[in-house]
Symmetry: D2
Subunit: 362 residues, 4 copies
């Protein structure tokens, strides 16, 4: 079976393939009366849009979104919002060569194994183009959150490319929008640019780590024990193409801590709210938000579509080599930044609605 | 709201608190006609049972499971299977002292924030005792898998305690059952024993990394794009108490790889099935199993209930210190091993049923 | 697969068989802080309890409910509430005779067809004893509704037994609790008593129609278009054992009306709320409550377990006759009244929570 | 919240309003490899299409469906199928007059009560145009069923208009496609034509009863106890616009039967399968199909949009009268026939997939 919906109350169903006529998302359960229009959603899509600099795929897609339902006279009606993005720059002939071969590290082979066939054009449903639909849905979530949680701020950025890590001592969130890597460390961004140029020219690609932080999240969000906020964020991020690891707060490094170190000590804040001395928890305890910043990180593997030949087999089982031409991102992690933000927005809103459903207004 | 169910077709709903009369799981959607009895489930529970050595909590719970429904004359009927475990060794008075304070790093405070009150006895619903219900449900999943996927083998083990890592060159899975840490590296286990003794005596605790591997998984399992096998495993593992990070295959280290390195090259296997030269993917591509071993790792943070005083606040907002007495695991990662195995079993079975529902028999 | 859960936010999972050790319900998603105890739930169970007069099965079950989780110090915690009812008066030997035969009109044969076997003791999972779990869950729902919707009143009663209809001109809701048929027409109740005595002595049984009315339901509940309030009520009632038809408002008779007749004309009420001149709609328009009384009716077929011989086949396909001894309700519709009320309570609460989740407080 | 999805494994999410640019359905979980194209789906849409005779709305919509995803080279891929139907004949000005008034018996008022506003153009989301999306999705279900259950036949027809009932003794299914009422009784169809002409000219409308029968349904479908096949069919049919009652088999009349009458006696069929002497059960026992014909009936209330003035209030609460001009069906029951068939197809397929998921191949 196929499960193309996520969320409980704010439910997003995405559809569409890389080289079909269109793709999109149906957003169900959106609160009514929220001001929204195509421009507001387009704002977020433009951040994910391919072809904006030499470090992303050169496919030229305007990714123009159309709202086909659920909005009337500039406000959500409470009924399903269909967001459609037409594909305009398919170059399916690029895929003729690989239609009979599997790309190592790519979903080509598993779609074949599962469904008995595949759509080779740009990866079909497994393409990262699907994430445009997530970003569009995230745009709706953002509009609702702007009303329900005006103090919320969601910021994604890259903290690592290959073995090169940004330096947290140099972090300046104002830098994030100033370089093609959404990197808060301007110096790292320069180094990365050189590094990625070299890799790209060598017909290679590289992985990355993205961090998404949400501040202004109220305490109490999360539905223990199988709808824990961290479990839902983990699923949301791991469902993004090419993601292989997800961390909350201290993440994998939590294993290295002692109980004494890991305890985020609590003080009484000036405003009567608890004040935490550190945030190893990443803002989540027992699956419920504590009011601290939500901190999520995920690793994105390198693109499997590369120009360096790799050994593989054909659909009929013969051994061969493959070189993937076409227009591919040398570091898909870059464009995963707005996608991670969109997933964060959707999960927070979903749990906000769940919370007020069960417990009442925050 | 509260979401205490996981799974799509093989659905597990758990209930119960650490110090209530009982806890358990309702398993719905189990295939009929599967041979099962209490002893078969008890086998798995006994592996998770507390008090078996000095490295786990000294609470003495037999964790005896009773099947209250869904099994008739030794076989599943296809209707809900209620698995109940009575709590017998509650010592709620241990919690008198902490009832008015929040333990840093513990869900005490967030349950309070969300629900407006909490059950302080042993953490109530947020206690790791809930994982007994998961292991019981996993026992049912194992019985079904033994019939549907006889070649499947699920093995969990600890690969890291604090900063001490097991050495993969010394891995011997036969060692896993021979030391109290489920560690495949016997030498590491000895070092860990000393280390944990020292920490325990110092009133401290420590984190760990657990790895769970499933071999014999057929290709084709997973429901892209929001029911991807890796997304589901990530949610399943992250929902376990104290887990802060989840990795599939290369995990967070995938960020460090180039596309050339990350490509798991494919050769034609002798049996006509694809043969992969490496397994950076952890057995999952595009959210679908490839037939390679599924490899999942997760980090467990150190227990927050420690004897070393930590600064905190009371429920009325006054600053104070806390020391948590009672019987706590100095390294909860140890007992997370059978829990991780159980979650792996449940997720694999659920996706096996989903697959044959949508696509037909494997 | 088996789907033993209903509800979206207020979710009820039932388990257990007629002759197993126990049965029950897990109630998940209950708002926290609601005062509840076993006595409050027992009140509703006692209304459904068998053996209270000669018109229901003579099985003597105290149906004593135990709360095993989710309630602490007399209040709901927001975590799963396990409600367990032990079976104490099983007489499985009654079923020896019918274990090899199928009762016409009974689920015996379809459970066999679906699952490849069955639990013949009292119908196993298909028994109406399952409805005790619904009533217990409904008791929890009622406690929450008493707090969230203090003006709500849910009343169920029988309006028809066989071909004998109660007379609406004689309806007096005060009569409902005064006769064994929950009949608001005292005169009809007398006639029904005679009629049912005669049927029972003749080894026969009879069907009934039950009506459940909820007044004080706020406008706005219901989730169009597949979670319409009427669609959910229809599913809830049709899922009760032996129900074959469900009506909302005018019900099947709506087919006979013209648009002029069917229009429930609207006037401005003294309190500023709309005042409807009639209620053909049964309180629901477009799947959303209008503030009028919710009116649901359902038909319950006659018990299939009767003393009159009926032709059937054995499990091996041979033709034979069957006579069902044991202790059976001659008119199961009677005990369906509190069950219908419980389902009404659960559906209303679920939609109340859904509404405040999506739209905000009422 | 809004729940615009139905089905468990074969999941249909519909979207769109009467006067928006388009409407449609996303079909998720469809088995892969099924031959399908737009023409196959159009076949079913054409049966529901408005404006085909004087007894349905004169709105001229081609209802041309486009497949935007999920089908590649003429076969389903197993990924979401987006079916889009553009609205081409909106005449929103028709609604100017009623934008400030509520139509008695219409969802105008409850959408207003729930969402705080409404889309007055043609009823917005509450319009029966939504059912076009169901019929399109049903077309996909039919294509799958043609492969998985080649012996299945689903037939819907009208059995009653107003107080005029078709005569079962004159039923000839070949007649169904020969008259504008899908009536199997040709004589009744003639009488209905006159009756409806008179009502239409009088500015009135009328209700109807539709029956949908599925033959060739295998035994074993249905998921007791809350996913019972009859409960799912009840919800599916009750979710269709204007439906007020649903019956399975004997339906409401089951209340009038005795146990002796109601027992569908069983004989050994020539093919070794059980042979039932009657079908009061409508093919479902205990929520599971028995192999007999599934028989479902539902009552459709008269259109609330009529030319006869009715008393109502305005959105600001003033009393007034309303006359609804525009293009409305004088008997919406007629066009509900293909919709009921589509829902039947979707429910059967969903349960077929669920069954093979839990139990294995039929």
């Amino acid at each position: 079976m196929s499960l193309n919906t996520f969320g409980h109350l704010f439910r997003v169903t995405t559809w569409g393939e890389s080289h079909g006529p269109a793709l999109g998302a149906v957003v169900d359960g959106c609160p009514p009366g929220i001001a929204i229009d195509e421009a507001a959603i387009q704002h977020w899509l433009d951040r994910r849009r391919p072809g904006q600099n030499r470090f992303t795929t050169q496919r030229r897609e305007p990714d123009a979104v159309r709202i086909l339902s659920g909005v009337y006279e500039g406000r959500t009606t409470g009924t399903p919002i269909q967001l459609m993005i037409e594909n305009t720059d398919q170059r399916s002939k690029d895929y003729g060569e690989i239609a009979e071969k599997f790309r190592p590290g790519h979903a080509d082979i598993t779609y074949w194994q599962k469904y008995g066939h595949r759509d080779p054009r740009g990866g079909g449903r497994s393409s990262a183009r699907e994430t445009a639909a997530r970003v569009a849905a995230g745009g709706v979530a953002r509009a609702v959150l702007a009303r329900l949680l005006p103090g919320l701020r969601i910021t994604g950025y890259m903290v690592q490319m290959g073995r090169l890590r940004a330096d947290r001592d140099r972090f300046d969130l104002a830098e994030v929008e100033r370089n093609p890597f959404w990197c808060p460390d301007a110096a790292a961004a320069s180094v990365w640019a050189e590094h990625l140029d070299a890799l790209r020219k060598a017909g290679n690609s590289v992985g990355a780590v993205v961090e998404v932080v949400a501040s202004g999240v109220p305490p109490g969000l999360g539905a223990p024990v199988y709808g824990k906020l961290d479990a839902e964020l983990a699923a949301a991020m791991m469902s993004i193409n090419a993601v292989k690891g997800v961390e909350i707060g201290a993440g994998m490094a939590a294993a290295e801590l002692t109980g004494v170190e890991n305890a985020d000590e609590i003080r009484a804040g000036a405003d009567g709210r608890p004040l935490f001395a550190s945030n190893h928890a990443g803002g989540i305890l027992g699956g419920i938000s504590s009011g601290q910043d939500l901190v999520v990180r995920f690793a994105v593997k390198p693109t499997s579509s590369i120009l360096t030949p790799r050994r593989t087999i054909t659909v009929t089982g013969e051994e061969t080599e493959i070189v993937t031409r076409g227009r591919h991102d040398p570091c898909v992690g870059i464009r995963a930044v707005p996608v991670g933000e969109a997933m964060m927005a959707c999960v927070i809103l979903d749990h906000l609605l769940l919370h007020r459903g069960q417990v009442g207004p925050l």
